[in-house]
Symmetry: C2
Subunit: 238 residues, 2 copies
DNA sequence: TAGTGGTCTAGACCACTGG
DNA sequence: CAGTGGTCTAGACCACTAG
C-alpha cells in the first residue's frame, strides 16, 4: 500500500474517532510531514483523498477543516464505489439473499454487444436475480457478462456474491463504472417479483462496469422498489 | 490556471478532435514532459484529470490508452459537476425557461436549518420554480437558500440563472454537493405543474450545495418528469 | 528484458486568508 | 504580516506489462 494511502487511513481513523473533532483544523502539512516522515507532496496526496471523501476541506491560507456530515443519514446506497450489492448491504448491517430467476448463456443483442465491447458471436451470461434485503423483495437485477471474461459462473456463485468470485477467484480488479439512473412505471415483472402495486414506480439503475484493463465486465439493469432504495453520492470539485 | 490544467485541456482537445484516436496510446509521460516543458509529476496530474473524466486509462507497464464511450449517449444529466441547470441545458443545445411559482423569505424548519448549518432565526429564501425545457414542463424545483449567504436575489435572477448570479455577481465559488436520488409517486402538485398523469412517477433529486469555505449555500428538492430526465455519472476508482 | 506508469523526495516559490 | 495550502521541479527507485 502506498504511503499516502496509509497516511490517509490514519487520518481518517482519527477523524472518525474524534481525535480531530469536527469544525477544528487538521495539523498543518508541515507538522504532518514531520509526524509521518513523508514529503509534503505525499501528505498533500493523502489530504486530497480525504477531501474527495468529503471528510475535510483544505483552503489556501486558512488550513484544513474537518467537516461534519453526520446528519446525511438516509438509508441510501453510496453510489460512489462498486463493491457489489452484498458488501453494500453488509455495511448497513442487513442481510441479502438472492433468488435466481434465470441463468443462461446467449449471444448478445447488438446493443449489449456494444455496451460490452464484444466481437461478434461472443457468448454472454444472461442472469436475472431477485435481491431480497432483510426478507423484503427489493431489487430485480438483469445482468449480462461475457463468458470469456467471467468464466466459471455457477448457481452457487450467483446465490452469494459475484463480486467476490470475480475478485477472489478470478483475481479481477475494477476500474470504475458508468451509471444511468431514472424513474419508470412498474411493469408486470416488477409487480410480480417486487411485490408492488401497479401504480408503484420503480427506480432503474443501468450500469456498465469496467475492469482495470479497460474491458467491460458487466452490463446490468436493476429495477428497485421506490420505497426501499435510493442512491446518494458526493460530488467534490477539482 | 495551473500548468497541469492547461496540459489536461490540451490533451482533452486532442482526444476529442481525434489527434489521439480511441484505443491507441497517449505519448508516454517522458515525451509529454519534453513537449510541455513540465516535470513528470505535473504531467501525471494532468493525466489523472483525464482519467477521472473517463477519457483515458493509464496502466503501469502498458501505457495510457484513449477510451471511447461515444455510445453512452443518453440525453441525460451528467451529475458529476454542478454548473446550474441553465449551463447543463445549454450544453445540450436546448433552451431553458423558468416560471416562478413562489418566492418568499421565511424562517427555516429545523430540518432545513440543519441541512444549511444555520443559526436560529436565520432567514432563508424559499423558492419554487417550474423549469421548462424546449417548451416542455420538466422539473419542479423547491429551493432554500440562506439570505445572508446569497443576498440580493430577485425575480429577474430567478428567471435566468441563479448559478451565474452567485458566481459572477457575488463571486462565490462552489466546493461540491451531496445528492440523493429516488423515485416517487407523483403528487397533486407534480400532476398540476409537470402536466403528468396520476399514475406517472417522478424522479426526485435532493441536494445540498456547498461553497468553497464549507458553508452550504442551497438545499433543494427537484421533482422531474420520469420520461424527460435521467441522471448519469461516472465512477472511477482511486 | 525494455519500457511503461506509480510513487516519493527535498526543496522552492507563490497565492491566499485572517488577524 | 505571518502562516497556510497549492503548485512545480529534477531526479530517483520501483512494480508492472508485454514481447
Amino acid at each position: 500500500m502506498p504511503k499516502y494511502e496509509e497516511i490517509a487511513n490514519t487520518l481518517r481513523q482519527r477523524i472518525k474517532k474524534g481525535v480531530y473533532p469536527a469544525n477544528t483544523l487538521l495539523p498543518n502539512q508541515i507538522d504532518l510531514v514531520q509526524e509521518f516522515g513523508a514529503s509534503r507532496m505525499t501528505v498533500k496526496k493523502a489530504i486530497t483523498i480525504l477531501t474527495m471523501e468529503g471528510l475535510v476541506l483544505a483552503r489556501r491560507g486558512a488550513g484544513t477543516k474537518i467537516l461534519d456530515h453526520s446528519f446525511w443519514n438516509k438509508a441510501a446506497m453510496p453510489a460512489n464505489q462498486y463493491d457489489g450489492m452484498a458488501a453494500d448491504i453488509a455495511r448497513l448491517g442487513k442481510t441479502l439473499t438472492s433468488e435466481i430467476i434465470q441463468f443462461e448463456v446467449v449471444f448478445p443483442t447488438p446493443e449489449i454487444q456494444e455496451y460490452l465491447m464484444l466481437a461478434d458471436q461472443e457468448p454472454v451470461y444472461e442472469i436475472i436475480r431477485l435481491r431480497i434485503i432483510d426478507g423484503v423483495n427489493t431489487t430485480l437485477e438483469h445482468t449480462y457478462m461475457p463468458v470469456t471474461r467471467a468464466p466459471g459462473l455457477t448457481d452457487d456463485v450467483l446465490k452469494h456474491s459475484v463480486y467476490n468470485y470475480l475478485k477472489e477467484t478470478l483475481h479481477l480488479t475494477f476500474a470504475g463504472a458508468f451509471r444511468n439512473i431514472q424513474a419508470d412505471k412498474s411493469d408486470e415483472y416488477d409487480q410480480k417479483y417486487l411485490d408492488c402495486a401497479p401504480t408503484d414506480p420503480v427506480l432503474e439503475v443501468e450500469q456498465v462496469i469496467y475492469l482495470d484493463n479497460g474491458e467491460p465486465i458487466e452490463y446490468s439493469r436493476s429495477r428497485n422498489r421506490y420505497d426501499r432504495r435510493s442512491y446518494t453520492y458526493l460530488d467534490v470539485k477539482s
